[in-house]
């Protein structure tokens, strides 16, 4: 019997984030002194709260894996690494937010409350060991993000983004819930207690013992429908269609945040569930491959003719979800040491993706600090002359997204490519190669616009807000993208614990 303190210790980072959320909520609404200085207090407290959560997360890195709350939550190195990535993404997003929100006159305390609670949901997703915990935490994340997407309430586009995201998200949640119901129904006979269950540990143990014979077709259908819910969140083709609209319409700081956070959280979940399902990988491997290929090509092809940078980045994030999905497929297909390598490579790519995405949206935020949103390719014309910092950082991110050395994006692609080949998935590996060649087209277009076109609009005279937080966040992402691109082994070492997923 696990004591309550152990239970709480297992979810300590999430609790710290939640408590910070309460502090910000109460402070902002009840304390006049706080309210008057909200612009400084809210982000500062949020930052400190997440940082403390990360600190405790790091200190627990070496602790033993365990489940808590009677199996509802799991605390293993994989979830800790995932929480680390989530926290990094959230901190970067908070840094990017302050000036942007001020410029758009959106500086409300609730923004940070929602950021913190959605982070809480994402952290629970990383640690979910029971499908019902998973469902509740996914919904916590989603509901907060629906509101964040519509946070710019005076802008029609923002509201439209919120509505579309919400309606389709609820639709997907319906499939997820129905899928959980069918998994529950099909899982009978897997658990050692002889009962139907949604506990991942029990399902994993049961599947490892009985294989496909232990479950009925209902289980398969349930998995498929659950995967629909995940695929929606991860924006896999053909569940991707909300992505460009929502990414475009949302305030850019929210876009950066949700693009990174959702992907990390949902791929953590997917990896955990699929590692549970490894004994029956023959059932889902083909479909997952198909989705990965569709997503890679779909995202890249759609991005090619896109003139709106935010939309283009949205499509590119779809394509990257495809690459990550390819890594997930490799996790299912690879064996022995390559299984572990596939997990760490996928995590590496997730990390790279986080930095690239937050960075590239961050540059858009940086360029928007003159009060006008930077959205189209035309806004980037001649950036090298107007704003060298923005141009050069964007250049790095474009190279990284395009998978060109010596950036982290290249190393991530190389690793995924490598594990795909090791797992005997050569066609998928070739698809990845071709898809990334297509992607060079449109990343290059951005570079071309920035470096080789004359600025057609002289915005340099407009007032630009000092934006230390944004600059810092972009700087961190650039430096890390290049540093880990040059020294990937360090990142691999950092992410290595992630390979131990507590399944059984």
């Amino acid at each position: 019997m696990v004591g309550m303190s152990d239970n709480l210790a297992a979810i300590l980072p999430a609790i710290i984030v939640m408590v910070t959320g309460f502090i910000v909520l109460l402070g902002d609404s009840c304390l006049p002194a706080w309210r008057n200085n909200g612009k400084a207090f809210n982000p500062a407290v949020t930052f400190v709260g997440i940082a403390v959560a990360l600190f405790f997360d790091m200190t627990r890195m070496g602790a033993k894996s365990a489940t808590a709350f009677s199996g509802a939550v799991v605390d293993d190195p994989f979830s800790r690494i995932s929480i680390l990535l989530l926290g990094v993404a959230a901190i970067l997003a908070v840094l990017l937010s302050t000036t942007y929100l001020e410029n758009k006159k959106l500086h409300h305390g609730e923004y940070y409350v929602l950021i913190l609670f959605s982070l809480f949901g994402a952290m629970l997703m990383a640690g979910s060991n029971d499908l019902i915990t998973l469902f509740v935490s996914i919904e916590t994340l989603s509901v907060a993000l629906y509101v964040l997407a519509g946070f710019a309430r005076t802008e029609e586009r923002s509201e439209e983004a919120a509505l579309k995201y919400f309606l389709l998200g609820a639709f997907a949640a319906g499939f997820l819930l129905y899928g959980i119901a069918l998994v529950y129904g099909g899982s009978y006979g897997l658990s050692h207690t002889g009962q139907a269950t949604t506990n991942l540990t029990e399902i994993g143990a049961g599947l490892a013992g009985s294989g496909l014979g232990g479950v009925t077709v209902m289980f398969g259908i349930g998995l498929a429908l659950m995967f629909v819910g995940f695929a929606f969140k991860a924006a896999l083709v053909p569940f991707h269609m909300w992505t460009p609209d929502v990414y475009q319409g949302s305030p850019t700081s929210v876009t950066a945040y949700m693009a990174a956070l959702t992907k990390i959280a949902i791929f953590t979940v997917i990896l955990r569930i699929l590692s549970v399902l490894t004994p029956i990988s023959s059932v889902w491997l083909m479909t997952a491959q198909l989705l990965a290929i569709l997503t890679m090509f779909g995202g890249n092809i759609l991005a090619v003719t896109q003139d709106n940078v935010k939309r283009m980045l949205a499509y590119s994030s779809i394509a990257h979800a495809g690459y990550i999905m390819a890594g997930v497929v490799a996790v299912g297909a690879a064996e022995g040491k390559f299984h572990d390598l596939a997990i760490s490579s996928t995590m590496f790519y997730l990390f790279a993706y986080t930095l690239m995405t937050i960075g590239s949206f961050g540059v858009l935020i940086w360029l928007s600090r003159r009060g006008r949103d930077c959205q189209t390719l035309g806004d980037l014309k001649g950036l090298v002359k107007r704003d060298p910092i923005g141009a050069y950082t964007m250049l790095v991110f474009m190279l990284s997204l395009g998978g060109i050395p010596p950036t982290m994006g290249f190393m991530g692609k190389l690793m995924i490519f490598n594990v795909l080949l090791s797992a005997g998935l050569t066609p998928l590996a070739l698809c990845l190669g071709f898809a990334s060649i297509i992607s060079v087209y449109y990343y290059l277009r951005v570079v071309w616009m920035m470096c080789f076109m004359e600025p057609d609009r002289e915005t340099i005279t407009e007032h630009a807000t000092e934006s230390g937080g944004t600059l810092f966040a972009i700087g961190v992402t650039v430096v890390l993208s290049l540093f880990f691109g040059l020294a990937p082994y360090l990142a691999q070492t950092l992410l290595a614990p992630a390979t131990s997923i507590l399944v059984r």
Binding site: R153, F166, L167, A181, L182, A196
Partner: protein, 100 residues
């Protein structure tokens, strides 16, 4: 004799009706009501399966699903009200600033 399968098939039919409803309706409120129908169908499956296995688990899931549905409703209707304020319409055909 009514078996669990009867309930499951009924819930599948209700679920499908909800799905089709989402696809054919244009009023976001009605679309959302169809989503609620989907959630309800899933709940029915949960309860039928729980009873089939003689477990209380099925009903537990439904409690959470209810809470989630309530949360979604409040936020969803909030969004709909907000968009109505912004655009004076909730016709999804007119809510189409962003596309392709």
């Amino acid at each position: 004799m009514i078996t669990t399968s009867h309930f499951l098939v009924l819930s599948a039919i209700l679920f499908t009706t909800g799905v089709v409803g989402v696809l054919v309706k244009r009023n976001p409120i009605v679309i959302f009501m169809c989503v609620e129908l989907m959630l309800n169908a899933a709940n029915l499956s949960f309860i039928a399966l729980g009873r089939h296995f003689g477990q209380v688990n099925g009903q537990m899931y439904v409690i959470f699903a209810l809470a989630v549905a309530a949360a979604e409703v409040s936020v969803g209707l909030g969004i709909i009200v907000a968009i109505f304020r912004a655009k004076e319409t909730i016709n999804v055909d007119e809510i189409n600033l962003m596309k392709s």
